[in-house]
């Protein structure tokens, strides 16, 4: 039986589908009976989901201006 500690160590390998079948089954057997580890795993999935919602910080106005003028030149040439 895997310990909770081991579940934490293996969580990303599990979520990435990188665990060999045997370990995957052991992992899932633990999760099935351990509410704390289920909570932890849900938090890890949520961390992934919420991070995907972070949008790119915007460019500074000067940088944007350089890009826009480059784009205009490029359009003219094209």
């Amino acid at each position: 039986m895997l310990s909770c500690r081991e579940i934490v160590q293996l969580a990303t390998e599990y979520l990435e589908g990188a665990l060999p079948v045997q370990d995957r089954l052991r992992f899932e057997r633990h999760i099935a009976i351990c509410p704390a580890c289920r909570g932890f795993l849900a938090q890890m999935r949520e961390t992934h989901r919420l991070s995907g919602q972070v949008t790119e910080e915007s460019l500074s106005p000067e940088a944007r201006e350089v890009l826009l003028s480059a784009f205009r030149d490029w359009e003219r040439e094209g």
Binding site: F40, A42, Q43, L59
Partner: protein, 184 residues
Amino acid sequence: MLRTARAWVGSRAVAEEVVQETWLSALRSLDRFEGRSSLKTWLFTILVNAARRQGAREDRSASFSELLAREAEAGEPEPLASRFFDAAHPRWPSCWTTVVAAWDRLPEERLLAGETRATVEAAVESLPAGQHVVFTLREFEGWSAEEVRNALEISDSNQRVLLHRARLKVRAALERYLGEDGEE
């Protein structure tokens, strides 16, 4: 893109130059884009190369890949160690000492609020370089493990170790932030 560039270069200003350079060379070579990768991946490949060249000029990353590999292989204190009972505990060896609850009872607006995003960003900002760049590419930019591995020239397991450590830290920051209401 700025965040990614920052992994290689010293300052935000230089990172902005790298991003500009990326756009410019992308625009110039757009007709050579063959559609074999997504436009986004193609753009980031240009970005990573430009940032790497700039980093080499600054002599920050003569070998960034080696640096990342070393970071992945170096030990880190076990995360969450204080959250577990001792391995010799008679009843609960290596078990959690406290309840760990999913955040699914929190309202979605709270989870998607700007402050939650800011918490994630601040946590990522304070990550060591390798974890920072891997997390940024995988989670913010949505790259696959393989794309990250190839762009950074690191092994699959190193990529995963860096992602794992980064995710644990971001999770811990979210737990601290979302737990402030004192529910549970």
